[in-house]
Amino acid sequence: MERSILLQPQPEELFNKYLENDVRADERKMGEMRDIQMKPGVISNAHGSARVSIGNTVLICGIKAELTKPSPEEPGRGLIIPNVELPPLCSPIYKSGAPCEKAQTATKFLDNLLKCTNIVDTEQLCITRDVLTWVLYADIICINYDGNLLDASVTAILLALANVKLPMVKVNEDEESDEITMDDTKTFQLNIKSLPVSSSFATFDKYILRDPTRKEEAMTTGMVTYVVDEDDNIVYTEKNC
């Protein structure tokens, strides 16, 4: 009874009361994470895919592979191009049209992460140097947004990359024609060097809330995200006050 009375006119007061009693609105402790569920291979048409849910935040990642000429700066490497989308169906905040700022920054976050950690050595994507390479378009779509986009995106993209099966491709080096033969029966999986784990925390005054929900993110001012690999090395940090 008391909770519903306070919820509408004084959401901040209610939020503070919870934190003072060392508990959160969904009855979790401060350092407690929500239930994580992962399932690879959910999209049969994609070369690799995964569905990840952290509590009520559900993301689906689909990877489509295409053949292209490698870029002149890096002729012996392939490309992985992430794209995070927050469509209107995932939350009442987002409208249709150009991607919102949150989605754009999450996309760049993943792009930076993949480039600086070298999780997937893009040399294995190159078929013939300077001629042909794979480019992986990793699309991450949020089905339901309830906070903690970054952790879920990192998990989804890594799981999808581990799930990718690429057909063997041969370039026919005939002088007359440049034929490319693709053999669907023989597939190879990517060699994933490491699996870093992302942890996000919302900060508010002196409180640190692990794995914030959408409502907690709206109430708090700061956000910290650490990405740590298996050797306890800090790979990526983002902290905003």
Binding site: C116, I234, Y236, T237, N240
Partner: protein, 221 residues
Amino acid sequence: MSFESKIFRCHQGYLKNTDGSALLTEGTTSVLAGVYGPGDIRESRQNAQKGVVEVNFRPKIGIPTLNEKYLEQFVRKVLESAIILEDHPRSCFYVITQIMESRGSLLACSINAAVLALQDAGVSMNFIPVAVCVAVCEKEDINGVKNNQMVVGPNKEDEETQIAHMTFTFNSVTNNLACCHQQGSLSQEMYDKCLQLAQQESSDKLKAFREVLSANYIGCR
């Protein structure tokens, strides 16, 4: 630390139409920041309790891309906590950072330029954010042995050999970390060492900020 990274030159009031501006040169990187505010904003984007900060990050060449959008959020969030926004409800601070020359430590230079522009505009702030960039680079010493060295204020050559790149922004009042961006693999001890180094550097930089302001005002009576 090379001689180049010791260069800290700021010209406040560089632009005549803005409420405040600063052309900051740190080492070999140069950023021009302009501030308009507090000013009008569309009703749909207004906040009744406090002001709003909008940052426009413009690259040296071409139209702003995703990269600029990403860096914008760091500048914006630092300024949102630094400026006393409660004094300016239903208003907006427009901060435009134009990259003039990007040869290392870009994000730190941009944050500092935005802060100096706000100071020039006379905007009241909770604290002065001081941004420092530290990189861990693979360097060869005299014997040809490769080892990892921490470089404060890396230039373009340092950034090409870097293993990790960090930008720390400190709160001048409490000396705590206000904002941080780090990419590249680092052990936790190395991370702590870089943080300490950056903290020492930030107190020197704060003195430099104060000298810039003093040069403008002391002597004018």
